[in-house]
Symmetry: C2
Subunit: 119 residues, 2 copies
């Protein structure tokens, strides 16, 4: 067997930073759109509570995955975008996505259908 080159320390650190119900979607959008405003994210993500979205963004900022930029215009505008550290996650996230589609395709399509039904 190859691919045994992981220890659980690094893995734990990475998974901790990714754990949170809405973080995959947040990352997804930031990877595809460069930068987004708070309300834009809030509107685009199905049913997050403002408070929860904010908590997630704060955590991700604390983990230095994203960068928060506040423009002191009025009404204030706050932009979020990926940091270098965040961008560097790309390959790993692609690898997970690839695995899900190759080896857990049933669960993926199941999830998509559940979303169609409920949304």
């Amino acid at each position: 067997m190859q691919y045994q080159q992981f220890k659980h320390c690094g893995l734990n650190v990475a998974l901790n930073m990714l754990s949170g119900k809405w973080k995959p979607i947040i990352l997804y959008h930031l990877f595809h759109q460069q930068e987004m405003r708070f309300t834009e994210l809030w509107r685009i993500i199905p049913k997050v509570a403002k408070k929860v979205l904010l908590e997630h963004l704060k955590q991700m900022e604390a983990h230095e995955l994203i960068i928060r930029e506040e423009k002191h215009t009025f009404p204030p505008e706050v932009y979020y975008r990926l940091s270098e550290r965040g961008k560097a996650l790309g390959p790993a996230l692609s690898a997970l996505e690839l695995w899900a589609n190759e080896y857990a395709a049933d669960e993926v399509t199941e999830l998509k259908q559940r979303k169609k039904v409920t949304a």
Copy 2:
């Protein structure tokens, strides 16, 4: 930017299957040792409660990441090993590990030190 080839559905499925306090360690040991008995895992992982370890193993079995094999000897022996789906996670886990060591090295070493101190 490259590496944008992920949607959040597959990513969600993958991260859900990996979420659980002790799953990284469990995977780590199964990747390195082929198969392990329940008690062996229980003893090797610092401070898991039997109940919790069992819950994690059951979830992973339900997700078809691992395979449970019971031998009806006495005292009974139960072996856990990776399924094909589980083994296929290797590259993605390596990628996460790699990322953690390259881009979040400080958190990784911090975690290692905390373990030394408390264990």
